[in-house]
């Protein structure tokens, strides 16, 4: 079942940043989007990092299976939009990040996945050059 088409008109768009597997999309889309971002954030008193020090495989979060959404229930749905237009005046977005998605128009299915591990590594006796707040 496919969605009808729509004409999208946006007057003014201001987007400061779109990063890390993010998508900004104007208009319709047939196949949806599959977004994925895996992040390992390591905060250390001194920046002594080596190559391949934090492989994703070492952290179970990245191998954990994704939850399976429940099957569709309820009545069969039929959608009709008969080219009904989408009109938007002004859009101002400061930041889009980490497998996020912005679209003006029809489309789907959307699938997005983000996994983040945050590690704080404090080394006693070593004062960071920049003040770091270890919470």
């Amino acid at each position: 079942m496919s969605l009808s088409r729509r004409v999208s008109a946006v007057g003014l768009v201001y987007i400061n940043s779109a990063s890390d597997s993010s998508v900004v999309h104007f208009g319709d889309n047939r196949d949806g989007a599959r977004l994925k971002a895996r992040v390992l954030a390591v905060q250390r008193s001194v920046a002594t990092f080596k190559d391949n020090e934090f492989p994703f495989a070492s952290y179970s979060l990245f191998t954990r299976p994704l939850p399976v959404p429940p099957p569709d229930e309820g009545p069969a749905a039929f959608f009709e939009s008969s080219c009904a237009p989408i009109e938007i005046g002004t859009v101002q977005i400061t930041a889009i990040s980490a497998a996020s998605h912005v679209r003006f128009g029809n489309g789907g299915p959307e699938t997005a996945e983000t996994r983040i591990v945050n590690i704080r590594n404090r080394i006693p006796g070593v004062q960071p050059r920049v003040e770091v707040d270890f919470k």
Binding site: A98, P109, I123
Partner: protein
């Protein structure tokens, strides 16, 4: 159990202005229609993610083990 039918008529959409500060971690902002949306996000910061201890870098692995 099969229920009846649902017919949805998507009428025109008109929006004046939108101001958003942040969209992050598998989020979506959609002006329009979609069939389905599956968004995941994990954020893993267990207590052991805070390591307080001396830094003892291990020596590099020999070439054949890489």
């Amino acid at each position: 159990m099969k229920l009846g039918q649902m017919i949805v008529n998507n009428e025109p959409v008109r929006i004046g202005s939108i101001r958003v500060l942040g969209i992050s971690s598998s989020s979506s902002m959609l002006v329009g229609d979609t069939q389905s949306m599956t968004l995941y996000s994990y954020f893993d910061t267990p207590p052991e993610s805070v390591i307080i201890g001396p830094l003892a870098p291990l020596p590099d692995l020999p070439e054949e083990n890489l």
